[in-house]
Amino acid sequence: MGYSDINSTLSSGHYYFSGNEAVAEGAIAAGCRYYAGYPITPSSEIMERISVRFKDVHGVFMQMEDEIASICSVIGAVWAGAKAMTATSGPGFSLMQEGIGYAALTETPLVIVNIQRAGPGTGQATRVASGDLMQAKWGSHGDYYIIALSPWSVQEMYDQTINAFNLAEQYRVPVFVMGDEAIGHLRERVEVKAILKVFNRKKKKGAPPFGANQNNGIPPMPSFGEGEKLLVTGSTHNEIGIRKTDDPEVHSRLVNRINEKILNNRDRITRTDSYHLEDAEVIIVSYGFTARSALFAIEQLRKEGKRVGLIRLKTIWPFADKIIKDVGQKAKTIFVPEMNRGQIIGEVMKYANCEVIPYNQTNGEIIHPHRIINGVRRLL
């Protein structure tokens, strides 16, 4: 197992999808065959499309009684051999947190799509925000690591969902696609390729399913029904799954491994795009929908001869520490526009050795390019 080329389930060509439809198609393309969810705006179209499209591919769709049941049934299905996913938004994402920690500790590969809306509370259900990025990393109790991706286009909703399944399977970890209302409901042209790369779970009969020192700290993963007599538990466990709830060494070894198997591979996982960094005095660090406005802004400013650049974070977690450290040594200022009260800026400040300026907006609307242009102009 590992990466292989497969034929796309959709015929190749161009489609006109909403972001949420593209997520559903990306999941099916990547091999997702179990989906459980609970209705919530602005993510529901994902589940609606899956419920119809799964008929073509013999997938199992379940509308569960709540988001807790959704994430838990997804974990159950994954251990029964499925590639599985759920999608939600703020309040549902909050309900899923205990299950997310369970998935991290049991090294259960799965994909969670969060079409972010304006919170806290029920907030504004139909409005956009990127307020859940810290929650994605820190939402469940204890020390664990996950992978979170940030698509900026409908094409990327499709591509990144496929990527999310591949990363989940490769690293045995929950992976988040952190979309938002604007990208979820935007319609754009999407190119579907005839052949795609898909990672399938590594299996090795008799190998300890929670063992260290194999394959970069990522153990092979058997399924129920294969005669392996699996012991899966969300309590601290040794390499074969026996509960060890008072052994300090087993606990620290397990917690370290589930974090380090991701962190040691961060250069392979974390992706950024860069624009005009060569001579940039001011660099915008942006992600998700906001990066569209940021790109428009720097192109505008470049026309005026301004030395501005952009780093777009395609991966939020693990954070792109190296490139930020690097540009932080060359640029005068880093500008971080966010649809929240300042979340990713904290990470930028950890690594950048220069002035870092926030631009925050929490009014349920996208950040318009002219606001970024004005903000950057003041720094030049």
Partner: protein, 255 residues
């Protein structure tokens, strides 16, 4: 545990974690006895449990696939596994607090959907693992660590609850009725659809000592005396039924 059932236990384990007088060990035996009599293959069994003492009945003891989940969520996990791989024979074993309080919503919905799961609820009428707090199944007046003056809230009738949600097979027995219980477990494993067995399983450590049962044996004796069959119950007045536990099959799966 009877020697002839040892082959169903995970090799390398030499004891259970249960307290002296706990009913969960008896239940463990009876579940394996039912599986043995049905000649089911442990390779096709998946045991799912939540969190609590009862959740340790299958995990790690049963030599089969086991999924020890979150508190209250066993049925939700089991639903995903069963629907994705219908060949798995999925049994859920967990406590009353786990399945019917924190997990009550999953219980009624799985019953309503008639998901093909055999659910065994080990009801000790208290939160055993966390130190004897009042449960949604504690009798009126029961003394617990959070109802020191006696429980003031009515307990659930779990069988009526699950019946109301539409389960095709619902039964209640006590661990003091081993033969009836084995036959009920066998039935539940043979019926396609959602089956629910409430098993009264005494907890002397947390419940008995606080409620004036001097020894585990006293508690078992009291349990035997309070359990009556539903047929007997038909002839008793409301007054006579007070403090009785009605056992039997409340929906027999059409057999």
């Amino acid at each position: 545990m009877a020697r002839d059932l040892e082959e169903y236990l995970r090799p390398g384990l030499d004891s259970t974690p249960f307290c002296p007088g706990c009913g969960h060990g008896i239940l463990m035996n009876l579940i394996l006895r039912a599986i043995d009599e049905l000649k089911l293959s442990m390779d096709e069994m998946l045991f799912v449990s939540g969190i609590g003492c009862a959740a340790w009945i299958p995990s790690p003891h049963f030599n089969a696939d086991t999924l020890h989940t979150l508190h209250g969520r066993a049925i939700a996990f089991a639903t995903g596994a069963k629907l994705f791989n219908p060949k798995l024979n999925v049994m859920v074993i967990s406590g009353d607090g786990d399945l019917t309080s924190i997990g009550g919503n999953h219980l009624i919905h799985a019953a309503r959907r008639n998901i093909d799961l055999s659910v065994i609820c080990a009801n000790n009428m208290i939160y055993g693992m966390t130190g004897g707090q009042v449960a949604s199944t504690s009798p009126l007046g029961a003394f617990t660590s959070t109802s020191m003056d006696g429980n003031i809230y009515r307990p659930f009738d779990l069988c009526k609850l699950v019946l109301g949600a539409g389960a095709p097979y619902v039964a209640r027995y006590s661990v003091t009725q081993p033969l009836l219980l084995v036959s009920a477990i066998k039935k539940s494993l043979s019926i396609q659809g959602f089956t629910f067995i409430e098993v009264l399983s005494p907890c002397h450590t947390q419940f008995g000592r606080r409620n004036r049962y001097d020894s585990p044996a006293d508690m078992l004796k009291a349990l035997m005396e309070s359990c009556i069959s539903k047929e007997e119950a038909e002839y008793l007045t409301k007054e006579e039924l007070k403090n009785k536990i009605i056992t039997g099959e409340f929906n027999d799966g059409g057999s």
